[in-house]
């Protein structure tokens, strides 16, 4: 029960790039818990280890030291098969939307839904349309990404990430290249839909304009993490 509530648990998690002699420690004894339905910001200066932590939690990197449990899977000991299975429940939003330009908005979203037999395709499509409608993009579903504004493209990326109801959404500077209004819409979309789905949302960001969408903020500096107030830097 505890493992279900706490979707991410890290204890004494450390990570080092390079060799013992010439390398650099980027994470030191990190301890954190992220629970289902929470929206957590990860802030800190460039090079502080935010992205490394995000990719570790996303199971894109192999932890080196300490423990890291994501959705009940111990990432230090997980088999490739377990990791593949785990990644089905994790989705990402990036600074760039990375949409396929040759596909329409709707096709971009359905392409990232789980494989289903023919009978499930209609349901998938319907769910994708509802998600795009929820994010204010219903008019755009048959358009190509280049016909959308930057904010709209990023909301499509959010729809693509959330449409399969992941347990965990990891966002890396999702509003960095957007103006204030577009950035806030994207952040609100992630937090609102994430909460509705009971999904834990971890957003790595420098953008103070979106602090208000979060439940709490973790600040990381020189590889050390600490709880911070949502009121300021």
């Amino acid at each position: 029960m505890e493992a279900r509530t706490r979707l991410v648990t890290a204890r004494e998690l450390s990570y080092r790039y390079g060799t013992a002699e010439t390398g650099r420690n980027v994470l030191h004894n990190i301890a954190l818990d992220i629970r289902a339905g929470e929206v957590v910001l990860l802030t800190g200066p460039s090079g502080s280890g935010k992205t490394t932590l995000l990719t570790l939690i996303g199971s894109l990197r192999q932890p080196q030291q300490g423990t890291l449990q994501v959705l009940g899977v111990d990432l230090l000991r997980a088999s490739p098969g377990q990791l593949r299975q785990l990644r089905q429940d994790i989705r990402f939003v990036y600074q760039r939307h990375n949409l396929l330009h040759s596909l329409t908005v709707l096709q971009n979203v359905t392409a990232c839904m789980p494989n289903t037999p023919a009978s499930g395709r209609a349901a998938n499509r319907q769910r994708a349309i509802e998600m795009l409608d929820h994010l204010g993009l219903i008019e755009k579903i048959h358009e190509k990404p280049e016909q959308l504004s930057g904010g709209q493209q990023q909301r499509v990326a959010v729809a693509r990430a959330l449409v399969s109801s992941p347990a965990l959404l990891l966002a890396d500077e999702p509003t960095a290249s957007l103006d204030r209004e577009a950035g806030q819409r994207v952040a609100r979309a992630m937090s609102d839909v994430g909460r509705q789905l009971g999904c834990a949302v971890l957003i790595s960001t420098h953008d103070e304009r979106i602090f208000h969408v979060a439940d709490r903020r973790l600040h990381i500096e020189d590889g050390v993490i600490a709880e911070h107030s949502l009121q300021g830097p």
Binding site: L60, R61, R84, S102, L103, T110, R121
Partner: protein, 391 residues
Amino acid sequence: MDLLWRTPLATLQLRHHLGSTVGALMGVSVAVLLMFMEEGFQHALYRSAVRLHRILAGDLIIAERSFASITIPSGLPRRFAYRAASVPGVAAITLLYANTPLLRNPQTNSARPIMLYGIDPLRPAINPRGTANNLALLVLPSRALFDRLSRASFGPVVERAKSGEVEAQLSEDGNPDAPMIRIIGLFDLGPTITFDGTVLVSDLTFHTLTGQPLDRPTFGVVALARGAEPRTVKAEVQARLGAGVRVLTKAELIALEIRFWDRETPIGYILKLGLFIGFAVGLVFVYQVLQSIIGNNLPEYAVLKTVGYPDYFFIIVLFQMATVIGTIAFIPGLVTAELLYAMAERMTGLDMSLQFIDAALILAIVLVMCMVSALLAARRLQGADPISLFS
């Protein structure tokens, strides 16, 4: 995997990168055309080289041991041919003489090589078409039939022969003082890649013109008795004549001639090289467009990887793109090749026409070319690393 079939990413990406795709299609079409032309030239070479072989009036051929091609002088001791006549199953033996003298163009006074065949006009070793019963007239000295399908390089011989007899000069070395022959009629055979035309004479006239002894024909042609089995008779003739001569079926003779042109002349190698160049050119064009599409979509492919698309999915997409390019580009290549074949056939008198199996073979080569391009381009997919998506 809806992105493979229901929403085919491959064709959608090709359409999205239309400029590159059209460039690749044009390049591959040119490569396909190049392959077709090489294939057409190869057909022209082989088919024209064995035109005479196909009209031989028999089922088995007796040739000198070292016989390689009818265009290479060779002499079979005549006694071997006659000795075969007593083998059971042999109905008749006829002799064929071949040489490649020069025929002087009466208009330009220039001499060009021509294929010259000598036969017994009353028991011909070949069944020429279109002779209008003029074959027997070759018994008269210095009379000849001229190939109606010869190229125009010999001057208006055909036109003049149609309206009456025409004189021409045949000699080993283009000697302007060589004796004249009288062309008394025409027959149908067709030129080869190396010889613009053919002249048919009696064996005696052949001897007079070339000095080649009559007891050294190029080969003997064996007609079998009704019901005789060619393989059996061939074995018996070979056993009777010994290892000093070569006994071949007509099909084996044709295969031997084609092998000579294919393997023992530069032209065979050049045509193969052309096919290879076509393959390489097409490969480069397909590779370039696939590289470009992968390069433009690496982050997007990386996103698909993070949601569980396996590596083989991207390989299949590349194969699909390559197959679409190859198949579409094949069509204009084929159509253009057919047009060029028709033009070349009119100009050269050679048969370049395609059969279904030839077109299918080229299509198979094109698809293999596309698969190789896709495999080479697939190395670039390693750059689609999900970690690279993070800022």
